[in-house]
């Protein structure tokens, strides 16, 4: 506290000396009054600043001054901007992928005798910011049958496990319906302008 006070007194002494010298520099004309008033204001600012700093450590008279702090360098700001753009791009792509998958599922459900369908898309990596990613591959899991309503779902029956006997049921291929597969292939290929070999349909 005493150190701060002695600093203030020292500063005020220097300021008064400075203004006296500046006063001597003033031209001897009608403008002297004007300049003197502003010099008085300057002295007030110079004296008040250290006193205010004593009470509030974070307060400084810095009216209309633009100080560029090291953490606000242009490079840092630009880098942060690029990071934000990347993040937004990633989020937009994820959203785009989700919507594509939902759209495909809705389209496939229009095919008769499809009970359940799940799609997964693989998008090509985007090189240009803002460009729309192309679909690289589509994987579709289809469960044939009538769509089940809430009443149709039966409780789980007891499961009997027999060890030793090989009682696997028919292979997956038996469930494959070639007409349905062709229809789904055509719908997806035409709608999204895809090659048929890029569409993979798996029957459950």
């Amino acid at each position: 506290m005493l150190d701060a006070l002695s600093d203030i007194v020292k500063n005020v002494a220097v300021i008064i000396l400075l203004t006296t010298f500046l006063d001597m520099l003033l031209p001897n004309s009608s403008m002297q009054r004007f300049v003197k008033v502003i010099m008085g204001l300057f002295v007030m600012v110079a004296v008040l600043t250290p006193i205010l700093n004593l009470f509030e450590t974070d307060f400084e008279l810095s009216a209309w001054q633009l100080v560029s702090l090291p953490e606000h360098k242009v490079e840092t700001v630009l880098a942060q901007g690029e990071q934000i753009i990347k993040l937004q791009e990633e989020q937009a792509l994820t959203e785009y992928k989700d919507r594509l998958e939902k759209q495909m599922e809705a389209l496939i459900k229009l095919v008769p005798n499809v009970a359940f369908v799940q799609c997964q898309t693989v998008l090509e990596p985007v090189e240009q910011i803002g460009a729309l990613a192309r679909i690289e591959k589509v994987m579709i899991w289809v469960t044939p049958g009538q769509e089940l309503s809430a009443q149709d779902i039966k409780p789980v029956e007891p499961v009997h496990i027999k060890i030793g006997s090989d009682n696997r049921e028919e292979s997956i291929d038996k469930k494959v319906d070639p007409v349905m597969k062709e229809k789904i292939h055509n719908i997806i290929a035409n709608y999204y302008n895809l090659e048929k070999e890029n569409i993979e349909i798996i029957f459950n």
């Binding site: 020292k10 500063n11 220097v14 300021i15 000396l17 400075l18 010298f21 500046l22 520099l25 003033l26 031209p27 001897n28 004309s29 009608s30 403008m31 002297q32 004007f34 300049v35 008033v37 502003i38 010099m39 204001l41 300057f42 007030m44 600012v45 110079a46 008040l48 600043t49 250290p50 205010l52 307060f59 008279l61 810095s62 009216a63 209309w64 001054q65």
Partner: protein, 128 residues
């Protein structure tokens, strides 16, 4: 002795001024202007040295340099305006001299606005 040079130059300029004023008033004004500019240029180096000392003092007193440079600018404007208005007065056109002073006063006030704003902000902060 620099002052002797300046005084000598000033006296010669005055003599020429009186002679020219009788015969060609326009050249007399030109002579005054040239003499003013010459003195101003001669003193420029010294003014720079004084300003440097003031800057050092201000740095020692932890004064915001922004305010000090504003004060320097104001003093410079006052000097330049005074030179101009005096030349105009010598030429007998006090109304033009008055306009130069008016413009200088306005410019000084504009330059002083940041200081005034700073003081007002301080006062507002001090009052609870």
């Amino acid at each position: 002795m620099e002052i002797l040079e300046i005084v000598g130059l000033g006296l010669i300029a005055t003599v020429f001024y009186i002679i020219l004023k009788e015969q060609k008033g326009v050249f007399a004004i030109l002579l005054t202007t040239a003499f003013t500019i010459m003195i101003f240029l001669l003193m420029m180096g010294k003014i720079q040295a004084i300003l440097q000392v003031f800057e050092d003092l201000a740095l020692k007193a932890n004064i915001n340099m922004f305010y000090l440079t504003t004060i320097f600018k104001i003093i410079g404007i006052a000097y330049i305006a005074e030179f101009g208005s005096q030349i105009c007065r010598d030429a007998g056109t006090s109304s033009i001299a008055g306009k130069i002073e008016f413009a200088a006063k306005i410019i000084i006030m504009v330059l002083a606005i940041p200081i005034i704003v700073a003081i007002l902000e301080t006062i507002v902060r001090l009052i609870p």
